[in-house]
Amino acid sequence: MSASIAEVREIRAQIRHWRRGRVDTTLMEALSDAYIAVFSALVLGAMAANVIINLHVITSGGCSSVSCLDARDALGWLFGLAAITVVLAAARLLGPMLVTPAVGTWLLTTPLDRTALVRGRLVGTAVVAALVGAALAATGAALSAYPADVIGWLTLLAGVVCVLLVGAATVDQAREGPVVRLLAWSLGAVLWVGLVLVARDSVPALLRVPAVAPLRVAVGVTAVAGAVLLVLAYRSLRLIRRERLVSGGMLLPGISGALASLDLTLFYDILVARHWRARSSVRVVRGRGIGASALVWREVVRLRRTPQVLIALAAALVLPYLATALGLGHLMVMVVTFTGFGAGVGLFTSLRVLSRTASLLRCFPLPAAAVRGACLGVPGAVLVLWGLAATPAVHDAIGGAWATNLAVALACGVVSATAAVRWMTSRPPDYRLPLITSPMGAVPTSLYFSVLRGFDVLVLGTVPLLVAPTTNGAAVSMALMAAVLSFLVSRP
């Protein structure tokens, strides 16, 4: 029954042959799809470029003080650093090398050469990483009003660094080492320190507008290092375990599905589930209290179990102070509420689990409102405290009495917490509702609004503070949030 092992290209050719045999798209349909794709890319690209140019004009005109100019110069660098950190984090999340679960089951379990199966993915990932990193870095450099040649070299540098990181991440994936995890944390820490320096108005000379000559050298050196790492990565491909390759392949369709249905909470669920699957077990902590207080205690335990959420929240506190350095004035309240929401939404995981299905809620011998209230008490208090910790930044930005600014900061914390509750308690789009025609096919009317959940409450609570950053504005904002919270907690 056995003979020589088939070549990967033979297998691929066979699968391609089958697939081509069942293609049911006509040439006109393919051309029409291509036209829509190109047209959409051009329109969206033009819109993005327009936004960047306008922001560039605004920052150039409104930023004239020395501290603001220093901060703006540093932001170009920091944006670039953030871009490569994001690319590295995404690479680590997905593998970076991955295959679909079907390939994992039917091809990786055979004696086929794994390098041949995966090498195309290595090249593709490096190209995509370079493009994404370069685009993000170019945006940051353009917003910082760097000269055109500097923007060009910085963009190139970011792209090459991203290729290098993909190579390093692939080697690390095969060796199952901690290098990339440590590197991602280190980049995050460096970024944070940079933001702190800018916020403290002590921007080092290193973060000023770079000269072109050293940038050229950096691009050359990084390109050589990137090429070496790509070769090492190629030679490591056969050593990557099947589980590690399939893991990212299982994640990607879930994420794509969640984003395609504009269901960001589902996207969050997928990431959380993956995190806990990888962790596998935890140290047992016994419960305390009876009834709702037992749920409150469980929230305390959960916070202790996920200190990284608290660390991220604490680190994010630098952003309001950074906004002060940039002279954003009353817009500060928006920075506080949006940052608090973004960094603190992960505190409300229990609420998400209870809202996703009714099955768990039914297990508690308490009214649904009591269960939800018990689950949001501790994380809500943490976010309100976080808002209060931003009081000095609010005071610097708005001025006036400390008591007033304390009330505004308190309201900001309440707005962030309420928006997080709204986001976490959102329900998936209801496909039983009337459907409307769209280029994506028939979609329920609630689909488009599902992506706005959370942000709607943020706007509702932030507008009174923007219009009147006073005690009255804070009172109106908190009254609105109390009404929203009461609705969200008590609905069936």
Binding site: M1, I15, L107, P111, L239, E243
Partner: protein
């Protein structure tokens, strides 16, 4: 397909020594020792959560044990090794499918990837055996869970193999499927293959297994 001799002095095909697996502080398996020789079947028995599937994942190199060794013909088992992939036919519970390849195409590509020269004939025979011939052109998404299970089992029989590792192969099979599975495993043994299976079906274990390893009992 090779069929090694079966004298009592034949070295074991698979040897597991002192295998321990921990998830964090939780010890799922503790010092497991077992051997499987060619032409013999060893069944793993244990309550839910006893560690049967974990043991099979470690034995097949899918998971790395915390300590201990797993050897196939005296060589450490690692699923990245081409030799291990060639000799071990594994059906665990993590089977996935190409959404756009039919039942017969799955088996065909699998057989060809294993270098089976007469792939078409072998695939047709095995398809008939698992009663999936009428579904040969169907996509996996349209199969029932029992049919998917039969397709997964079929994947083990369209390729060369020396050791079969099966995790609850009886799961989701109907009565006729159980009868077929029992007969097939007996034929595999007679052909000189080693079998390691985890099962909750006492009839299947009694009919097929030469020895039983109880994971509920301390080793």
């Amino acid at each position: 397909m090779s069929a090694p001799g079966r004298s009592s002095k034949t070295p074991p095909l698979l040897r597991v020594r002192g295998l321990t697996k921990k998830y964090g502080d939780v010890e799922v398996l503790s010092g497991v020792d077992l051997t499987v020789t060619a032409g013999k079947a060893l069944a793993l028995r244990g309550r839910n959560g006893a560690g049967k599937s974990t043991l099979l994942r470690c034995v097949t190199g899918v998971d790395a044990p915390t300590s201990g060794t797993v050897e196939l013909d005296g060589e450490a088992v690692d699923e990245r090794s081409v030799r291990v992939r060639r000799d071990l036919a594994i059906v665990l519970d993590d089977m996935d499918f190409f959404p756009d390849l039919s039942v017969v195409e799955h088996l065909d590509v699998f057989a060809r990837a294993h270098g089976v020269a007469d792939a078409e004939q072998v695939v047709d025979e095995v398809l008939a055996e698992v009663r999936l011939t009428p579904q040969a052109a169907q996509l996996p998404g349209t199969l029932s869970s029992g049919q998917k299970r039969r397709l997964a089992l079929a994947s083990a029989f369209v390729r060369p193999r020396r050791l079969l590792v099966l995790d609850e192969p009886e799961a989701r099979l109907d009565q006729a499927g159980l009868v077929w599975l029992t007969e097939r495993l007996l034929r595999e043994k007679a052909a000189g293959l080693g079998i390691l299976l985890a099962s909750h079906d006492p009839d299947l274990v009694a009919a097929v297994a030469d020895r039983v390893h109880d994971l509920d009992r301390p080793t």
